[in-house]
């Protein structure tokens, strides 16, 4: 059969044979020792320092472990972890430790690590946060002083005050309000100017107008010694509004950090085909080291590290990061493929034709933007309502002002200011995004990543859930439990061939075979992947097929029935088993039996969904029997096995056409068309690179039951948003007429407006609490 010596002519995929996940990743860390890879996050010198993004930090215990573990390494001076940003800052002496060693050590204690390179958007957000924090602090410090003096002035009104003292206190207040107005209130004025330029009506407009009027009115009052001064209202107003904005910005920053961690848009390394002293082989190199005319290998599910020309196989590519179009596009030999797009079907070779740095930036930027796409309808609605509301308020205020002047009322200024200040579109335009951000944050802590904001709203409406089987209901990687060699062949060699055929695949069965294989892998030439069925490839100049029974029937020249002998018949159809066949061009060589385990939390989730009257379906590319078996265990009536991607899509479309809101929970390449079609695409982690680009929700935890948590939480979120909007309507309906009638003095208007904002913000921040939700194991 296959002689061992025959392997040597074929290229090895890795420098180290016997591919194990750990050794693979350990090799990859070596690329961080190269100088090009260190730009931007390592500072060199006799003492090196680096900023590393650590994945998987949950709590202070993690900080403690990481810091202490690294501190005991020789040469490490300081190691400091920032919990909020999951960022490790580390200093060490260059001669004692390599950068890659740090990554390896982190790996050893169970944390993933990536260089901390902030996307432009995130750096921008952090800068905003600093500025806003300073403005908030200044508003608080000076505002408090203004309030103290205002109390003195108000009590002076009641109990009498010397005129000189009064004037003195008013001047002091004027002095103190200046930094608040000129520095802290900048965001509102800048926003108002932007509104004016773009001719849209934002909340900043009435706020700025109210502030300006109140300040000018007070200034005039304190100079002419007539009328009221509103410095305290101004200070309080600015402080509360800034506070609410600060909370909202913080929530946004957290969300974007998580986005950065999950979706590594452009891979940091590439698999390059190279010829050197050690012969022809594939080596892992940093993506930045790629040059024009390099040949690289891209496995299915991987993201292209550079732009290039496809030169041997055709495959489909998801270019949604670049074009926003989710339907995979077929690219054939000679076509241009773009960095940042995802290879869907099979391993391809690409000749690089553009330096990576010319193309990566754009895709990173697009990724950052895409996280903010798809606002929930309710958020958009409330924005529209808020901006109409603002226009109404501005008209109303002018009517009041003009009316007041015509009538000759001496309180026209007070009334106008009160109208401008008392109205509170905050609950509409601020509290809704705040509630959404808060709930996205909380869910993230529980292992549910909301990639697109609309998912929260859609999730509450879902009334039909479609599951994929492999990797979703059953654990990611099945276990190989049995090999039956059919003809006179060695079981281990068959396994080796099977594993070699699958070595470039990301399919769970491929992983199981690769894990079980103990022999050295051989190069499989012109391998071709038929999604949902199997793979074929040339090994040692002989063609091999690996796949389902159906695949065998289509590929083998000889009919399967005639090659079906006692040994195949003898294979017991153990429940929940997957059976994979290996054949050469004429006969079946071996049968592999794989066993799958139910994932954590599947049963509670299914029970919960049924309680919520949500219909359940199970569509899988696996054999009908094993699907039926699982469906029976879980009591799912609508179960279809042997589905190819387009069949899944068809079934899904049927449900969608019948007016249902369909959520698809899947994992893996086979599901991507169905995922993009469903109203709500939920991906289980494992195939994160592929899924997170397409999915609306990514379940990060091992337990799928977190979806139950997400569903409850989404309901809670929509309830709180509704409460906030109801409150905003009631408040405004009561307050605006009163203000127009002149019954509300500006200071009361300020308190009313601020209180109203604070109430919605507090209500929204209830979403930060998770106590009343079921906890899960991490």
């Amino acid at each position: 059969m296959i002689e061992h010596g025959g392997f040597s002519r074929y290229y090895e995929f890795r420098e180290q044979p016997g591919r194990k996940p750990n050794s693979e990743t350990k090799d990859i860390f070596d690329v961080y020792d190269k100088h090009q890879m260190q730009i931007g996050w390592v500072t060199e010198g006799s003492t090196m320092s680096a900023e590393i993004l650590v994945e998987g930090i949950h709590c202070a215990a993690c900080i403690w472990l990481i810091e202490n573990w690294l501190m005991q390494l020789p040469g490490v001076d300081t190691a400091y972890v920032n919990l909020s940003q999951s960022r490790l800052s580390i200093q060490w002496s260059a001669d004692q430790l390599k950068v890659s060693d740090i990554f390896r050590q982190l790996m050893k204690i169970g944390y993933g690590a990536r260089p901390f390179s902030q996307s432009t958007k995130q750096a921008e957000l952090n800068k905003q946060r600093h500025t806003l924090l300073k403005q908030l602090g200044i508003a608080a410090v000076f505002g408090m002083q203004v309030m103290v003096i205002s109390v003195a002035l108000y009590s002076g009104d009641w109990f009498g005050i010397e005129p000189t003292m009064r004037i003195f206190l008013e001047r002091v207040n004027l002095l103190l309000i200046l930094p608040v107005l000129l520095y802290s209130a900048q965001p509102f004025f800048i926003g108002a100017i932007r509104n004016l330029k773009s001719r849209t009506a934002g909340m900043d407009l009435p706020v700025s107008l109210g502030l300006t009027l109140a300040f000018l009115g007070s200034l005039w009052a304190s100079l002419s010694h007539t009328g009221d001064i509103y410095y305290d209202s101004i200070a309080m107003f600015i402080f509360f509004l800034l506070g609410a904005r600060y909370l909202e910005l913080n929530a946004r920053i957290k969300g974007s950090t998580a986005m950065d961690m999950l979706a590594s848009a452009t891979p940091e390394y590439a698999t390059r085909y190279s010829t050197d002293k050690q012969g022809e082989r594939f080596v892992t190199v940093p993506a930045v080291e790629l040059n024009i005319d390099d040949c690289i290998l891209v496995k299915p599910g991987e993201v292209l590290p550079a732009d290039g020309i496809l030169f041997d196989q055709c495959s489909t590519f998801d270019e949604s990061l670049l074009s926003g179009e989710h339907t995979p596009i077929l690219r054939t030999k000679g076509d241009q493929v773009l960095s940042g797009s995802i290879n869907i079907e099979q391993a391809v070779s690409i000749r690089v034709n553009k330096q990576p740095e010319n193309s990566t930036l754009s895709s990173i930027l697009r990724l950052a933007q895409s996280s903010n796409q798809g606002k929930p309808r309710i958020a958009m609605l409330s924005e529209v309502v808020a901006s109409r509301f603002v226009v109404v308020i501005l008209c109303l205020a002018s009517v009041v002002a003009i009316g007041g002047i015509i009538v000759g009322s001496d309180i026209w200024l007070t009334t106008t200011i009160a109208v401008l200040v008392v109205t509170c579109p905050c609950a509409l335009s601020l509290a809704t995004p705040l509630a959404i951000s808060a709930s996205i944050n909380t869910m993230m802590q529980k292992g549910v990543f909301i990639a697109k904001q609309h998912a929260l709203e859609t999730l509450t409406k879902v009334d039909h859930v479609v599951f994929d089987k492999t990797g979703t209901l059953t654990s990611d990687t099945p276990r190989l439990i049995n090999i039956v060699p059919i003809h006179d062949v060695n079981a281990d060699e068959c396994l080796c061939i099977a594993a070699s055929l699958e070595q470039f695949s990301a399919h769970p069965i491929a992983k199981a075979l690769l894990i079980a294989n103990k022999l050295e892998l051989v190069y499989s030439d012109s391998s071709k992947n038929t999604p949902g069925l199997g793979v074929s490839g040339m090994i040692n100049q002989q063609e091999y097929f690996l796949g389902s029974y159906e695949y065998m029937a289509t590929q083998l020249k000889q009919s399967v029935d005639s090659s079906k002998n006692n040994k195949i018949n003898a294979i017991p159809n153990i429940s929940n088993d997957s059976v994979v066949f290996l054949a050469n061009s004429t006969v079946i060589l071996a049968v592999f039996t794989l066993k799958e385990n139910l994932r954590n939390g599947v049963k509670p989730l299914v029970n919960y969904l049924r309680e919520q009257n949500i219909a359940l379906s199970l569509y899988s590319g696996d054999r009908q029997e094993s699907v039926n078996d699982l469906a029976q265990t879980l009591e799912i009536k609508d179960a279809k096995g042997g589905c190819k991607p387009d069949q899944k899509l068809k079934y899904l479309s049927n449900h969608i056409n019948s007016g249902k809101t369909v959520a698809m929970i899947g994992d893996g390449i086979n599901d991507s068309p169905a995922l993009s079609q469903a109203h709500l695409a939920i991906a289980c982690s494992g195939n994160v690179n592929l899924s997170s680009a397409n999915a609306d929700i990514v379940l990060i935890n091992k337990s799928i039951d977190t979806l139950q948590l997400a569903h409850r939480f989404a309901n809670k979120t929509s309830r709180i948003i509704r409460q906030n909007i109801t409150w905003a309507i009631i408040y405004n309906v009561c307050a605006v007429p009163a203000a127009v009638m002149g019954w509300v003095p500006p200071w009361l208007a300020g308190i009313g407006m601020s209180l109203s904002s604070v109430i919605v913000v507090i209500n929204a921040s209830r979403l930060n609490r998770v106590d009343d939700l079921p906890t899960d194991e991490v």
Partner: protein
């Protein structure tokens, strides 16, 4: 009450100092991680234990890494 004419300007100076201190602390990253520090204190005792153990372990670790 004439003392107020002195005390209030003094309080303004105090406010300026507080504002300055606040701006300094924002600039120097005091507000960058508001969650970690509060929890870190709970682990101080353990960290001391660990570091003393580390000192004993340090030679073995050196050997591993060289």
């Amino acid at each position: 009450m004439d003392i107020l004419f002195l005390l209030i300007p003094l309080s303004i100076i105090l406010v300026l100092i507080i504002a300055g201190a606040f701006l300094w602390s924002v600039k120097h990253g005091q507000f960058d991680d508001l969650e970690g520090q509060g929890q870190r204190i709970l682990f101080d005792d353990d960290a001391i234990d660990k570091s003393s153990k580390n000192n004993e372990n340090a030679p073995t670790n050196d050997q591993e890494n060289t």
